[in-house]
């Protein structure tokens, strides 16, 4: 007995709330309307709450001869290597389907969206824990007999329809099921829900699967048109282009402009001055591609444009910002949108714009009692669509002129100089170590407690790893720094970092002790 007649098998991998069930119903209904034997089932379970969920359909290609003909025996479970049509509404779910063996080079047509819905494990990382999507796309290319993959979420957004109708169109377009597109369309109509939108989505998916639609044009920079450059800006640009090699221009132009925007031409000039030493290091290297200059340039700009209340107010009171908000919340042109900002600056943040001698006193007074600082930290709801709320923030943004005299500015400059000195020393010892030391600036981000924790982690790594490394006491120095940095980003409690530091510390101690 050969395998003989087999059903067409369809597996749908979706996430709770995505309409996978509706998609399954559309297929089942279409098959029933043609009197094709069909069976379908689903595993929602607790996965209905945003977890991964699957639907499985089997159907025969030939209609049943009589109404009372015995039904074929169809399975409730998908089998490894046994899926004709694999449908996945998201890229990592596609990877999961591939991992579980449901995509076979000899059998499977893969219809999948290339967009990402990040899992909580990817989202909650302090750094970047995103799964490599390109790897999945490459694997899909090798594992599927045929594939129809595109960003269905974007397509759905463009058409203004649910994504499952795009998928249904792609299924029809694949021609794999013995069901003509008109039959699916009829099913959508008799379903009676959001008929127009679903039909439009169906048509878009169909066109795509038949190769009648093209991928989206490459993305363009959509940021607002910058204002015309004035004298200072032009001079700054000229200086970058004259003094620095071409490999660094993309980053340094962006960065120098950022510093200029943040403060003033003098501050931007300081930025470029600070890079001089690293440029010399790079220049002294044979075949240099100026990586250190680029990387220090990148992080230095971010450090010099640290987020204080002045900067936040500046960023939040630009025309382009209000336009972006309207875009993000999908407001119609001219529609009324009220905007509330959630601000809760602490004592330190207020004090940071005050002159150092005042600021230090306030901070130490507030620091004496825990409750004092907490009481002074008042949550504010600022309505920036009102004149009063906007004016408030706009005035804070205007404090830019006095920022230089503020406590935080002076403190930050000192910390920046310390960091640069550390990178310089590292560069004298080991180029790779210098790069890793530079990258440690990534730890300094966020606001309030988050920022304090990052600064503390940076200081710990500098003392326990970087300095001993510069002194030559740490084997594989660059790697050790990278490991320490990754561990600092692994958990907010710093458990990982403590472990790594003690390990490195022990190693360094062993290294210097007489053998």
């Amino acid at each position: 007995m050969s395998e003989g007649l087999r059903p067409v098998t369809v597996l749908i991998a979706a996430m709770g709330g995505e309409g996978g069930g509706v998609l399954m119903d559309w297929i089942v209904r279409a098959a029933r309307s043609l009197n094709l034997p069909v069976q379908a089932t689903s595993v929602p379970g607790v996965a209905q709450r945003t977890g991964a969920t699957t639907y499985y359909v089997e159907l025969l290609e030939t209609p049943r001869q009589a109404d009372d003909a015995p039904e074929p025996v169809m399975d409730l479970y998908p089998g490894v290597g046994d899926i004709d049509l694999m449908i996945s509404s998201e890229l990592v779910e596609t990877a999961r389907a591939i991992e579980r063996g449901f995509v076979s080079p000899t059998r499977t047509t893969l219809i999948a969206s290339t967009h990402r819905v990040y899992s909580i494990l990817e989202k909650m990382s302090m750094g970047d824990a995103r799964y490599d999507g390109d790897r999945i796309i490459a694997a899909a290319g090798k594992m599927a007999k045929r594939r129809i993959m595109f960003d269905m979420e974007r397509a759905a957004g463009r058409v203004g329809c649910p994504m499952n109708s795009i998928i249904l169109g792609a299924i029809a377009g694949s021609g794999l099921l013995p069901i003509a597109p008109e039959v699916f369309e009829e099913g959508i109509r008799t379903g009676g829900k959001a008929v127009e939108a679903n039909l439009a989505g169906f048509a878009a998916g169909l066109a795509y699967a038949r190769g009648e639609a093209m991928e989206d044009p490459p993305a363009k920079d959509s940021r607002p048109k910058p204002p015309t450059l004035n004298g200072a800006a032009l001079a700054l640009r000229a200086r970058v282009e004259n003094e620095f090699p071409a490999q660094t221009h993309t980053i340094l132009l962006e960065a120098a402009g950022r510093v200029l925007d943040y403060q003033d031409p003098r501050y931007a000039a300081l930025y470029l001055d600070r890079l001089a030493d690293f440029l010399s290091v790079d220049k002294a290297r044979a075949d240099s591609d100026y990586e250190l200059t680029r990387e220090v340039g990148r992080h230095l700009a971010l450090r010099m444009t640290y987020e204080d209340i002045i900067r936040v107010a500046q960023l939040k009171t630009r025309r382009s910002r209000f336009e972006r908000v309207r875009r993000e919340v999908e407001a119609e042109p001219g529609q009324l949108v009220k905007i509330t900002e959630f601000l809760k600056p602490g004592v330190e943040e207020y004090a940071s714009v005050l002159p150092p001698f005042v600021a230090r006193r306030i901070i130490s007074w507030a620091g004496k009692k825990k409750s004092r600082a907490a009481k002074l930290q008042i949550g504010m709801h600022v309505r920036t669509d009102t004149v009063f709320g906007f004016a408030n923030l706009r005035l804070v943004a205007g404090l830019r002129r006095v920022r230089r005299r503020g406590y935080r500015f002076q403190q930050e400059q000192k910390l920046i100089e310390d960091w640069l000195a550390l990178v310089r020393e590292a560069a004298a010892a080991d180029y790779a170590l210098a790069l890793e030391t530079t990258e440690c600036a990534r730890l300094l981000k966020g606001y309030g407690d988050t920022h304090a924790r990052g600064a503390e982690n940076f200081a710990r790594i500098a003392e326990a790893v970087i300095r001993p490394a510069i002194a030559g006491h740490v084997r594989d120095a660059a790697k050790a720094v990278r490991r320490a940095r990754d561990s600092a980003l692994a958990d907010p409690e710093g458990k990982d970092l403590a472990e790594v530091l003690s390990e490195v510390g022990a190693g360094a101690a062993a290294d210097v002790s007489p053998s």
Binding site: M1, L5, T41, G51, E99, G101, L302, L315, R327
Partner: protein, 748 residues
């Protein structure tokens, strides 16, 4: 309670039940189909139809996956049930549902109840034992949703043990609607013929299977609300009291068991399918038959119509087993495979005994080739059956083809693993977008920073997800409504005050007595958080005694607050869950107050799924009528966000996600709020309570604003428009490739 007993006409439990997460309004029409009509639909609906065809007088149950839909369907089918005088009871828990079958002890009326198993059967066990001991006159059937294997939400055990120890007949039909509905009908007959309750076991996928069967007419029950029983039957022998319990025990084994065996044989409830490889055979639980056929098919040993080269004996009844049939099937065979899911392998053991007694020397395989734990999916079955074939070596079997099939699947998975190079990140379930329970766990996390962590006795419900990332809260889960009860041992032995969690579902299911009343009685000194969201949400939001009317949480039929107060608990505070600051404060007070006794915090806010359904419909209506409506949602300023993701670690909202950093100078992704944000407000509350970062904003999009509003807005924009901050300086040409999806959408 009927509608007339309260001042305002209110819906009964059953009526209020209708309107869950999924509507079955269309599907219930199928329940009216008559003789010869073709039913095409979901398994659970087919069971309901079969119950009507069998002439049930009463139905009931407690919701839970995978039989929540059955409860929903019954609720929506109220009209049809009323026509036949069938009573529907939405039971307080499974114990209530099992006790409901007591109607069939004295009277010749049929009843069907349903619940999720194993957990539901555990809760029902007391009543089930009594029911099984005294026996029934009318047919009594429990449809158990066997929540086992992939997609299951509970501990993994077999319900089979209950059937054995209480002597309840266990039906496990082939998973097609014809077999399932036939077994409902035969099950009632079996129950009546043997005075024994029956359980119909439906696995997850069978509950949800979309299939077809040929209908019969619905039957009008002899006794029902339309024709009530007039004379009570008193028969002391049907009471679970000694000495009658001894008599009942004897009756079970001397009369009811043989009668059941005879009935199963006479009605050919188990099926034998011949095959040409007669020296081997497979015995299979009915529910696994389809998967077995597909596995045989993939090995070239069966076809799509179920013709198998190996003879099959399909157990549509797995208790009692029919020794004669087993012996008849096995006689003359060298090897037989028993396909039985889960452990212990009761059937396999019983087969060994039957064959030993009959002195048949067939070798019995089972757990030697199939796994002892876990569901028998297509590939597990394929591997097991292939192993068996290799072991038994039946004449005419192409062993190399069998090995090839196995090798192919293994190679495919290996190839996939190599290409992907690492485990694909999991996607654990979590709280929905805007869920009102999330802020409570955010509050606990924030308080942990101050007071340090304490022991948390968690409960069953959506809130159990708090144990998963990002919160990682909840040290034990002992059962539905058992949160507080499970703290009574640890609380006095733990340095800090312990926290217990209980949902409103769990409260009414049993937590009220086993938890709160007991805590009051024992003068417990701990903290209880009652998640009051208005529904049993995890099962698809069915109504509760304290469900709100039209979303008004203060307007409930029964009050949890008053109930707790009546038990003598004096420290009780109600906090709106989205008020994070107040929640932290209240929790701090509960943890640190010197007051003895139980401290109860009612964390109140309506289930967001229920709320959104209403709010969206309301907004659509307003928009259509040209009336003013507001859509709130949150956003993040991407240039203010530094990509630390603290906000995500304190929330985990699906709508709060990440996106590539649009800033060419930064690499870590920035936080981002998706367009499905419902504007619950937690993001803003977290930004405040945790003093996080200033990148969050709330946007209230106003539709059809009134004249004054429009004028004011115009004036504001005119003023603000003159004072915007200077746009960013950009020295370089725009960099390509940093465009987000939504921006291109806007451009299009």
């Amino acid at each position: 309670m009927t509608a007339q007993t309260t001042q305002k006409p209110r819906k009964t439990g059953a009526q209020r039940q209708a309107g869950g997460e999924r509507s079955f309004a269309k599907e219930v029409k199928l329940l009216r189909l008559g003789e010869g009509d073709i039913f095409e639909g979901e398994g659970i609906l087919a069971v309901t139809k079969a119950a009507l065809q069998a002439g049930v007088s009463y139905v009931g149950g407690y919701q839970g996956s995978p039989v929540s839909h059955l409860v929903d369907v019954l609720s929506e089918a109220k009209d049809i049930l009323d026509e036949y005088g069938v009573h529907l009871e939405i039971c307080a828990n499974e114990a209530g549902a099992a006790a409901m079958l007591g109607a069939s002890v004295n009277y010749p009326i049929r009843g069907l109840v349903t619940w999720k198993s194993i957990v539901g059967t555990n809760v029902a066990a007391d009543a089930l034992s009594s029911l099984a001991s005294t026996g029934v006159k009318g047919g009594a059937m429990v449809v158990i949703g066997e929540d086992y294997g992939e997609g299951a939400s509970i501990i993994q055990e077999r319900s089979h043990a209950y059937a054995l120890k209480s002597q309840i007949w266990l039906l496990d039909p082939r998973p097609n609607l014809t077999s399932i509905t036939n077994m409902v009908e035969k099950g009632f007959e079996l129950s009546e013929a043997t005075n024994t309750p029956v359980m119909l076991e439906l696995r997850i996928l069978a509950c949800h299977v979309q299939g077809r069967f040929v209908c019969k007419d619905n039957a009008t029950p002899k006794y029902s609300r339309n024709n009530p029983i007039k004379i009570p039957e008193f028969n002391v022998e049907r009471i679970a009291l000694p000495p009658f319990t001894y008599q009942q025990e004897r009756d079970k084994v001397t009369r009811r068991l043989p009668a059941a065996i005879q009935f199963v044989k006479d009605n050919k409830l188990n099926e034998m399918f011949p095959g040409d490889m007669e020296e081997v055979g497979i015995i299979v639980q009915g529910g696994l038959y389809n998967t077995l056929i597909r596995s045989l098919g993939r090995l070239g040993l069966a076809d799509l119509n179920g013709n198998s080269r190996l003879p099959l004996y399909v157990l549509n009844v797995t208790h009692p087993l029919i020794d004669d049939e087993i012996v008849e099937f096995c006689a003359g065979k060298s090897h037989v495979l028993m396909v039985e899911e889960g452990t212990p392998e009761y059937i396999e053991q019983a087969i060994h005994v039957a064959l030993r007694k009959a002195d048949v020397n067939t070798k019995v395989s089972g757990k030697d080739v199939l796994p002892a734990a876990g569901q028998y999916t297509n590939d597990v079955m394929l591997t097991g059956v292939a192993e068996f074939i290799r072991k038994a070596e039946p004449r005419g079997a192409d062993l190399s083809a069998v090995s090839r099939a196995l090798a192919d699947t293994a190679a495919l998975k290996q190839q996939a693993a190599d290409l992907l190079g690492g485990t694909v990140p999991g996607r654990p379930p979590t709280f929905c977008t805007g869920c009102p329970e999330r802020p409570v766990f955010t509050a606990i996390k924030l308080l942990e920073r101050e007071l340090g962590p304490t022991h948390i006795s968690a409960d069953i419900g959506c809130h159990t997800f708090a144990a998963l990332p990002p919160f990682g809260l909840g040290n034990t889960v002992l059962g539905y409504g058992a949160g507080l009860a499970s703290s009574t041992g640890i609380a006095p032995n733990f340095e800090k005050r312990t926290i217990s969690i209980m949902g409103d579902g769990g409260f009414w299911h049993g937590g009220l007595t086993s938890g709160v009343a007991s805590a009051a009685f024992n003068q417990a000194d701990s903290v209880l958080i009652v998640m009051k969201n208005g529904y049993t949400s995890a099962t698809g939001w069915q109504y509760l005694p304290s469900s709100p009317k039209d979303g008004d949480m203060s307007d409930t039929r029964m009050s949890i607050e008053k109930t707790i107060k009546a038990l003598g608990i004096t420290w009780q505070k109600k906090v709106h869950t989205y008020d994070l600051g107040k929640m932290v404060k209240t929790l701090r007070e509960a943890m640190t107050t010197s007051r003895a006794g139980l401290k109860v915090i009612i964390a109140e806010a309506e289930c967001q799924l229920a709320k959104q359904r209403r709010v969206k419909a309301d907004r659509t209506k307003k928009l259509a009528a040209g009336k003013r409506a507001v859509r709130p949602r949150f956003g993040i300023d991407e240039d203010v966000c530094t990509g630390d993701h603290s906000c995500i670690r304190l929330s985990g909202c699906p709508s709060l996600t990440i996106k590539p950093n649009p800033d060419p100078l930064r690499t870590d992704p920035v936080a981002h709020i998706k367009e499905d944000c419902v504007g619950c407000g937690l993001c803003g509350e977290i930004a405040h309570a945790a003093a996080l970062c200033p990148s969050f904003y709330q946007a209230d999009i106003v539709y059809n604003p009134n004249l004054l509003e429009r004028a004011l807005s115009r004036a504001r924009r005119a003023v603000i428009g003159r004072f915007y901050s200077r746009e960013a300086v950009r020295l370089a040409e725009p960099v390509a490739g940093v465009l987000e999806a939504e921006e291109s959408r806007a451009a299009a």
